[in-house]
Symmetry: C2
Subunit: 330 residues, 2 copies
Amino acid sequence: MKKFVNDPENFVPDFMAGIAAANPDLLEAIPEHQLIKRRNVDASKVAIVQGSGSGHEPAHVMAVGPGMLTAACQGPVFAAPPVDACYETIKSVATDAGVLVLVNNYQGDRMAWDMATELAEAEGIKVKQFHINDDVAVQDSLYTVGRRGVAGNFFVMKACGAASENGASLDEVLAIAEKVNNNVRSMGVALTSCIPPAKGDPIFEIGDDEMEVGVGIHGEPGRERAKITSADEITKSLYEAVQTDLPFESGDRVALMINGLGGTPPAELYVIYNKAAQLAAETGLTVARNYVGEYCTSLEMAGASLTMLKLDDELEKLLAAPAETATRIF
Amino acid sequence: MKKFVNDPENFVPDFMAGIAAANPDLLEAIPEHQLIKRRNVDASKVAIVQGSGSGHEPAHVMAVGPGMLTAACQGPVFAAPPVDACYETIKSVATDAGVLVLVNNYQGDRMAWDMATELAEAEGIKVKQFHINDDVAVQDSLYTVGRRGVAGNFFVMKACGAASENGASLDEVLAIAEKVNNNVRSMGVALTSCIPPAKGDPIFEIGDDEMEVGVGIHGEPGRERAKITSADEITKSLYEAVQTDLPFESGDRVALMINGLGGTPPAELYVIYNKAAQLAAETGLTVARNYVGEYCTSLEMAGASLTMLKLDDELEKLLAAPAETATRIF
């Protein structure tokens, strides 16, 4: 297994300890509940939490900090966090203003957070839930009824985090989550599979000249298994699937994200961005903000996804607001 | 080839176009000279330039911007830029305050920049050169006489960029480069090879259970080909090689970087950081700043390097100064 791993069963605690160790002033880890939270939680502001299987870093524990999530918990690689971790995550940051739980739409995550939310409500904690489902690839999937939540999740976290910092109420932050989710669409493609450390084997098989178009972030099947084509052709298929779905139309202002799935280097992501920006211009879109990097990964999977968010003044301002998390470079 | 590539011969122009397209206010691309420069060059400040083969992104064209490089050029993947690109890079940002050329110690890069520097001097441009050689793995290597320059280069760029913004003279910025280089050490390990698009084949062969300890960023041999061990054991071997070389000693304040080589996901880099921070504490070092991410890559190579820089008040302040480049997330 070509990985930096100690005991595969401890992979998640090991990297979460590393994240906390690298950010001692910003973050606090509570290993027994598999959660990471902000050191300073402002009780007057809405807390935003999220949690899912590991292997998607920086989502979600590397997205905790001022202007983003208030806390996050993670389960084993590609498996939902246990109910008690979700419950403790809510409880650890419960504020008078309330807690918004963001959940990417997967059955396992929804079940865990539904039960955790009920437990928290029973204790008198003010809490609401929102489900993110930005992946246009397939209607239902291996682990979902309805569309999956993928990298569009970043924009929900960012906008909600900024709204909370601005003092928005729980209902107002929830409305922002809905607005982002209603206006964001994504689709991904995988060139290789990936190996969860505790499994030790690839999560799916794929030929040397094949790609999975519309892949899920746990390797779920997408729209088709196809022969690898040029970067421009692949980008065009992702762009068209995303653009026509909302649809994004001439005159729209958008945020455009090219997200790496973990094993694809920065240069290739910019090859994709270059074509995607051209296609957006041809559609008559204005790319007001762009994001090229790793936002929602699948371990070391080689691949990328394209996400577009239709902007208005409110969303653009929220995306531009400052944030500080474990994910920072320079 | 499991890559997002169009015509492999156009891989470098394609991704450089993407970087420029994603940063229209910050950066200007001059494709005919394979260079990217800051839009606003302050003639009263020292310009800092660098350039090498492509495939190491974010080094160097993604490191151009206020507080970092003033301009950078890139050759084909893993091949030095041509002399005329180097010369045009110097010329494009030549200021009254002068130009500092940073060169990672490889024969090809040194030859190109030596000739470009001579050409620039002949035109009356005030220019000095500095060679970076932080890699402790081997004394001489496939493409070097003397030690190689690797991820420690980031700290040289960052400190020099900040010093220039502060109004330091050419000699003062050069002295900062020397100070950083004298106090920074690195070593890397590769778990897999990588495939330059125009070559289409791996740059070296490596077994399923093997790693190259002390690998160069072009896949050059390091200290030994060994069986893959645990993340903690690999980290210990990198740490000890780096720590004992300077040496870093009890009471030292350091910056600690875990750099991903391109195909290793964020979670694994934090597994390495977790152990490296423990080892630093055991040595009596204080990690005043840390860096976990991709700073100097080898395309999609799975692997990582460990860099430590001994800090004093001056260097710590320069590293903490603001910078803005194409490499930013959140």
